[in-house]
């Protein structure tokens, strides 16, 4: 198996909580290393309290038989690691994707994923999972989930 094949397999694993995007889209696969037929995959959790952590690790091990999965607990993941394709898939599914970190933390502008309006307000910093907030669009009167920028 070569590296590209491993990445292809990983692209088929959906995020267990937001299945419209894959683990690769989510940016949690930090590296893939193939040497002498041994596959090593470095994987970073999004939020440390994510209950799907073990599930995702097992899903990778099942998808790529024989792979060794290292869970990396450093600061290498942020929402900036979500791919452009991943952001678009989130938006299509009604989740406002996280804006780039530097912009979001300064601008505080949040766009509605349905109508594109910036006339939205925060309903709750916390939502159904640690990575999401709840907002409401004053323009199209649609509540929506905002992927937190971290």
């Amino acid at each position: 198996m070569v590296e590209a094949e491993v990445w292809e397999l990983l692209e088929e694993i959906p995020d267990p909580e937001i299945p419209v995007i894959s683990l690769v889209d989510l940016g949690v696969i930090r590296s893939v290393d193939v040497q002498d037929g041994h596959v090593r995959i470095e994987f970073t959790p999004t939020f440390l309290g994510c209950p799907a952590l073990e599930y995702m690790k097992r899903a990778i091990e099942e998808k790529v038989p024989g792979a060794h999965v290292d869970v990396i607990q450093d600061d290498s993941w942020s929402t900036d690691k979500i791919t452009a394709a991943g952001r678009e898939k989130l938006r299509e599914a009604g989740f406002a994707p996280p804006a780039p970190r530097l912009i979001q933390l300064q601008s505080q502008v949040h766009k509605c994923p349905y109508c594109g309006s910036t006339e939205t307000k925060l309903e709750n910093i916390f939502g159904p999972t640690p990575c999401r907030s709840l907002r409401y669009c004053d323009n199209c009167r649609q509540p929506f989930e905002q992927f937190k920028t971290i």
Binding site: L48, V71, I125, F126, T129
Partner: protein
Amino acid sequence: MTGVGSTEPEKSELPASPAGRSANKAQEQQLLAIADDELFLGWRESEWTGIAPMLEEDVAFSSIAQNEIGHARAIYQLIVGEDGDADALAFDRPLDEYRCAPFVELHLLDWAHTIARRWLYETADQIRLAALKDDSDPAVAGLAAKIDREEMYHRMHAEMWHDRLKDEPRFTAAVEELWPYALGVLPPKLRGELVQRVGLAEAEAVERGAHTDDLAPMWEEMTEVRRSAPAGTQW
């Protein structure tokens, strides 16, 4: 109850693997203190799930609890090493080996006190994480930075409530009552900054080392299922 401070290490048999950070006892005790704080405070915050004054706070406190317990898990894992048993470290110690501050043990059933603790704790935690982010061990510094990213949202929540309640006498009384406990979360050298941020006069801290009577019932509830099953049970 015996102290768990500096006299502790020789009798403490922590299940740290050789891959863990047992080489540096002082740092291990410091990390353990933070992990224990996050575990027990996380449990306390989860007690509001279903009974908070409004639905938004049910959700907020549940999420905050989940995050804090996640931080505890990550720190325990760092201490025991990749293949070590973080659950054993979290749940299987005798009570006097837990390093949590009395502040996180308090069973607070009043909203003013609960929000006062949230705000004081997050303020203290930010100071301690900032120091840890500069740690010479990249694994410690990296994990502290990751935790701090998530804590940003806890701080936003705590500040929002602080702004809302800061002129309410019940809230200010609760902050003053809990203030000596909040000081005890930080090592003495970091307390000056907390004094500055909170704006209260220095007071005698309720130090880490002894436990309140609230810890034992919480620990018993937290570990009840684990203790009822034979060791090694897979869930």
